[in-house]
Symmetry: C2
């Protein structure tokens, strides 16, 4: 007998689940289009090597990969590498800046803990070709536009941001001066700070067999740098001409013009767990920080180069479907979504079915959502079912109505009934 | 270096491709909702055994399957088994009849011939719980509603239909009397008739090592049965009380009530290549039959039983995204779809960026699709780009405008310019 469960960690979407998903996706798309972004898509299966990087990232360790006919393939764990591949394939032929968004399913193979799933959907917005923080500001503004659209008031979600370049310029002048390749794996380890704590991060940074290999004292110094939560404190510690600080100050000015700066915090511990980020990085959390990150993103100016392409600045974010639904549920903000049936049309008896079909066809041609009752239910059951489906009215053709050439119409809200000629039956 | 192509036989969707796909999917969804169907979805990865049947179907032979951590998994080749699994998981708790639709990506691993792809999208509509041909009539009517919506005139696509029960009642009384399990594989072979011809089908049916194993004479008799293209001829050859014939006659009556019977033909050679069909089967072709089938479907009343569930009648169809696009292209009916940008807003100089952001934010809040120019383009380039993107107007904030507290608005269609106060700038 076949195993009749969906694979572990995956989801079936029954009508009520799909309605919620579509509601969320429609908002994702409406915001992205409002910002002038164009939707794109790529295959859910890619060559595995597109995703395999060596910085120790969780997302690579959890790659859903397999070999088939000598090809090493993978279900995409995230969208950015596919987007980069598409940009590279048409590099030179694309009008920059490029504003692309996606709403796609991503996969990761992980032990099933903390209710995490092996697939989730993610909204991505990526802006290619702009080196300045105007790009970051647009994307963070889009995140807030989405939050407002789905009913989350200002301040219920906060964005924490940092600039990897700030950490990098400090470390490259110090402990990383002799370890030029250690910055990306160092960020991957630092990203675990809130999950595993400062001591564990210090140990990982100082692991002689690890990718970073600092001394214990150096590792402690690095962790100490992460405690800064004020941009002024960060600026005081940075060189006077720090480009990273200037970019952050400008970003906050632009976020203020968007009216969202009050909900954005500087936090030196935010570095994100993906190796390819090079500049500003950010993530959003519910105000109480009870849930995992609602979304995260950042600047990845060197990704195209690592794929063998030209240098091209880029910023993007990913916004999943799972945490935001948990947050909406916690806040009592999940929408009540009806089936969306406008009319139910029923024949009372097989002989009246062609007449009922003609009524339904005319209503449908006029743009109405019509459930044509099939089978041989009695009127009482038809009315009860129509009521449950949220329909406004029921159109009945019984033998007596058919003989007189009429259809009986009942308004479900009031119970009022009227008749119309079968030949007309306008919507 | 990473292989930067998408896997062979898969597609990237650049903005212009995605616009066409979304246009088609929106029509799929609008028709299904018009018929009172609810959207559902299931994982693209399932346990492989959900799909592995032993009737020799091409779709099973081309299964995209792999083993990962001792699990035999597959990318779904079609949606129906997943739908059946979902129905079975909630059997008893679902209100019947059940009207479900899906728009999903399906995969098959096949040699790349004739431009066929390894993935395609498919619109499915399935109606569960109705034994009568009113169900088939609804689904066939939905197919024509879609064709009309996307601009294909009546008769540009024709549906060919048959009833497997008609062939089955004839064969079970004859050559299959002693081979009760041979009917499904026999249909799988017959389905190849138009591709490989009558002689090859006869040989396969008479292959002593095959799943059917008729004598050459029996095989020739079966192939001869398939030449009938008139329901009256079929009725003359069937028993007087043939339920299969009565169902077909009733189906044509109902299709007539929907106004589509003139575009539907009886054809005894249509059996479809899936093993699980039990009754009416149908497929649609362009009128010249130059392309592969636009869609296909049928009744599969015993599928739930084969999965260990209760008996439950069901009918469904699948309608792919590839052939219909080829047909629309052949007919010159592919729509011209614009990017959908309403406004372009630009700052002329970094100092004016906050003002431009405020203008863009107000326009977006009013529901307009706004491209905020970033970087430092000159007005000439901004106007040219805006024109290409299809925008109606450009909002410019230069140093001189900012000093006077205004934004300059240019209507791209007429070149007319006006100013509005920066603080107001209504849409």
């Amino acid at each position: 007998m076949a195993d009749l469960q969906a694979p572990r960690g995956t989801r079936d979407f029954y009508p009520e689940d799909l309605r919620l998903r579509s509601w969320l996706f429609d908002h994702f798309r409406a915001v992205a289009r409002g910002f002038g972004f164009e939707e794109v898509d790529a295959p859910v299966v890619e060559h595995a090597e597109l995703f395999t990087r060596k910085a120790g990232e969780e997302i690579v360790e959890q790659l859903y990969h397999f070999t088939m006919h000598d090809r090493h393939l993978a279900l995409r764990p995230e969208m950015t590498p596919s987007i980069a591949r598409m940009v590279l394939a048409r590099a030179g032929g694309l009008r920059l800046p490029l504003r692309w968004f996606t709403v796609t399913q991503n996969w990761r193979y992980e032990r099933m803990t903390r209710g995490r799933k092996r697939e989730h959907y993610q909204w991505n917005m990526d802006l290619w070709g702009e080196p300045g923080v105007a790009a970051e500001a647009e994307l963070i503004a889009a995140i807030f536009a989405l939050l407002r659209r789905i009913g989350l008031g200002d301040g219920q979600v906060r964005v924490q941001l940092n600039n990897r370049a700030l950490l990098e310029e400090t470390l490259r002048a110090g402990v990383l001066a002799t370890r030029p390749d250690a910055f990306a794996p160092l960020c991957v380890i630092i990203d675990k700070l809130s999950k595993i704590g400062a001591d564990a991060v210090t140990q990982l940074l100082a692991d002689p067999a690890g990718a970073v290999g600092l001394s214990p004292a150096e590792a402690r110094d690095v962790v100490a740098l992460l405690g800064v939560t004020s941009l002024d404190d960060a600026a005081a510690a940075a060189p006077a001409d720090s480009r990273a600080i200037a970019d952050l100050r400008r970003l906050f000015e632009l976020l203020d013009a968007y009216g969202v700066a009050d909900y954005v915090d500087f936090d030196a511990s935010v570095v994100r767990g993906l190796a390819y980020y090079t500049g500003v990085v950010f993530e959003a959390y519910d105000a109480g920080k009870k849930l995992r990150a609602v979304c995260g993103g950042g600047r990845y100016d060197r990704l195209l180069e690592t794929l063998g392409g030209p240098s091209m600045p880029a910023v993007g974010f990913g916004f999943g479907d799972v945490v935001i639904a948990e947050l909406l549920a916690d806040q009592g903000l999940l929408p009540a979504l009806a089936r969306g049936i406008d009319d139910v049309v029923a024949a009372l008896g097989e002989a009246q079915r062609p007449a009922a079909i003609r009524v339904a066809s005319r209503l449908r041609a006029a743009g109405r959502a019509v459930e044509l009752a099939i089978g041989d239910a009695r009127p009482k059951r038809i009315f009860a079912d129509a009521d449950k489906s949220g329909a406004a009215r029921v159109w009945l053709v019984g033998p007596e109505e058919a003989a007189r050439g009429v259809v009986k119409i009942r308004e479900l809200a009031t119970g009022a009934e009227r008749e119309e000629p079968l030949d007309l039956s306008p919507p």
